[in-house]
Amino acid sequence: MKPLLQLSDIRKSFGAVRALKGVSFDLQPGEVHALLGENGAGKSTLIKVITGAHSPDDGTLTVDGESLRSLTPSRARELGIACIYQQPALFPDLSVAENIGLRLKKTSAFAKVKHAEQRALALDLLKRVGAEISPDAEVRELSMPEQQLVEIACALGSGAKIVIMDEPTASLTQKEQHLLFGVVRDLRANGVGVVYISHRLEEIFALADRVTVLRDGESVGTHPVKDLTEAAMIQLMVGREVAALYPPAESEPGAVVLSLKNLGCSASGVRGIDLEVRAGEIVGMAGLVGAGRTELARILFGITPADSGQITLNGKPLTLSSPRAAISHGIAYVPEDRRRHGVILEMPIAHNITMAVHPVLFPGTWLRFKAETAMAKDFIRDLGIKAYGPDAPGGSLSGGNQQKVSVSRWLATKPKLLILDEPTQGVDVGAKSEIHKIIRNLAKEGLAVLMISSDLPEVLGMSDRIAVMREGTVTAVLPGDADAHDVMAAALGQSGKEVA
């Protein structure tokens, strides 16, 4: 049978980051093909290549027998490729029927909208996906899964032959999941090919015919699902040795600095967290995207205050209601999105570094440029920041050096607890190991470090202990020498013993 979609040796780089290093993939008619991989393995990039959002640097796409160098989003739609994202892209102020009509009917801007026809079409499509949604409802009134069903209805209506589903069940209830599974099976029965992405292994076993595993931007194998066990799948996802590039722990952890008891925040979906971080210890925090790790960091930094449980810092119970309060108690947070929240690109790095220490560095009211420059020079030297001087704007630095500036800002506050969120994301290899050395040295000097990372080798290589989060809570705390298997199993919700 001729495949609906064939990708061969697709490559794509973003600057120095090689997101896809030669991925091959094919989709047959009437097949559900699961795509599996850790965070950052290249799944999203691959989808964007298929939907035409990114054009590959190299490799070929064959859609329905037609070979293409690359696609545009509109060409992909014409070829019958539809993608259902986690966050539906509908217009909230328009009705369901209007949304469907807008997506499916190409009319000239001044043609009269045929309301009755539009409504009938919507009604028919909604019935086909088994959704009990009125075509007249405004989309903003719909729940997330209802919106997803509208998206699927659009895909059906467009006569899509290739449907990509990116973690479609992430926000669905059990009942809605069953509904969705039914729709997927219908699609398959009608000869549609479905690319199904999910972190829930049980769904892959329930739905998929074949599975392709991506790791570090490469496809490491395509297998019929019935030939694989859960353990084998996890092995394929992580299957690599942790490089011995990480600086070793040299000190014994000291007293407990941070202690969390049953901590929760209903607004951000974090619940029942028990965790301790000691002086001189690096606690790595692993988990899938959306497991609640950044949300926990934001609670600890007072951005979204906790509404249940207890935070204790150096033996004293605390309430943290704002970043200012957190800073004054000696908590520092190097945020994930460094370009947005970490470094102000327009400002000189000296200003960036002193931003959180104004009251300390400048007692009284005015700034002391000498003290500021001296502090900036110290950090530039100590952390090896590559810049032409303290006056260089943050935006002129490379990603790794920006990250060092962001770290400097927080070290300047002389914190007791340092929270790092994805400290080496988008940083090149050399700067990465420098940042690792910096983090290890800080721990050696007695700082308590909580390091959130989606980079599994980094978590394994750096951590003295590893806390794994899943669905808003810490599900496992593993020793630093735990293996990739156990961490991934805990993150996916399988117990470590089963896979061992």
Partner: protein, 310 residues
């Protein structure tokens, strides 16, 4: 030109060119007394421009400053007419401005409402309150208020000195006080500022309060230049100073700009009218030329930005 001060240099060059042309073709322009009068009459706008510059750098806008200015002028005038000393009138004007600024600040900073809508509402409200209250009456001032009871040239000296000292103090503070840097940080990225322990709400509130206070001071500097108070003295002031800020290189998207550029922008725009008179051209061209200058500044900003992102 792409240097750090390219805008200031461009505006200064345009202003210089205009002055040189005037010196050659209309040397009358530089007669001392009229020149001094014209310069003095721009000082209230300069003081208000200091305030709006800070507001715009914080990535906000305040279009109620003309209304604030009128309100402060009337309050100060009434206090002075009641026989109170000038110092009390000044305090009353500044106090009134601070209260109106705080009102805007509360709505924008703590309720998170868009400043353009809030200040549009307060602009209309203050203006209509004034109209109902004063019915457009001119308010005569007692002796000893005009020119602070000094001679005209001494009075002009005081007005200019106050405005220039305020400008110097504000420019110094923006560079040397932590508060100044907090204003830039909030305007560039409020969330990043918050994560660094700066309270963007407090910064925004403070900037609006300062704007109100400066509008009050500006009203006083205007009031002392004439024997009576016009209850619509501030009409159009907001556009004038926002235009000066934009021409002077203050980014309407926040985070960027400085007071020296604004001073140059104000002087350039303010000289269009007298220059036309001295070149014996009809004064109707004033607004059109000012519009063109603003347009040029905005286009230059746009080109610079698109080049950066390209």
């Amino acid at each position: 030109m792409n240097g750090k001060y390219s805008r200031e240099i461009t505006v200064a060059a345009a202003l210089g060119l205009l002055l040189v042309a005037l010196a050659i073709f209309a040397p009358n322009f530089f007669e001392l007394q009229p020149l001094l009068s014209r310069f003095t009459s721009q000082m209230p706008a300069l003081v208000a421009a200091i305030g709006i510059t800070l507001v715009i750098i914080t990535r906000q806008i305040d279009i109620s400053i003309g209304a604030q200015f009128s309100m402060c002028a009337v309050v100060a005038g009434l206090v002075a007419a009641a026989g109170m000393p000038l110092g009390v009138a000044v305090l009353a004007a500044v106090g009134t401005g601070v209260v109106m600024g705080a009102f805007n600040g509360i709505l924008v900073a703590w309720l998170g409402l868009p400043s353009i809508v809030v200040t549009l509402a307060t602009m209309v409200t203050w203006n209509e309150m004034l109209r109902l209250w004063q019915q457009g009456r001119l308010l005569p001032l007692p002796d000893g208020i005009q020119w602070f009871g000094l001679s005209q040239s001494a009075g002009q000296g005081v007005v200019i000195a106050v405005a220039v000292v305020l400008l110097l103090a504000a420019a110094w503070a923006m560079k040397n006080l932590a508060a100044g840097r907090h204003v830039y940080a909030t305007g560039t990225d409020a969330e990043a500022a918050r994560l660094a322990g700066i309270d963007p709400k407090r910064v925004t509130f403070g900037v609006f309060v300062l704007m109100g206070g400066l509008a009050g001071l500006a009203a006083v500097l205007n009031l002392v230049q004439s024997p009576q108070v016009q209850p619509n003295a501030g009409d159009g002031l907001e556009l004038k100073v926002i235009a000066a800020a934009v021409v002077g290189g203050v980014a309407i998207t926040g985070g960027r700009g400085n007071l020296w550029g604004v001073l140059l922008g104000l002087l350039l725009l303010a000289n269009v009218n007298p220059a036309l008179t001295h070149f014996h051209q009809p004064p109707y061209w004033e607004r059109a030329i000012q519009g063109l200058v603003i347009l040029l500044a905005v286009v230059a900003d746009g080109l610079k930005r698109s080049k950066k992102t390209a």
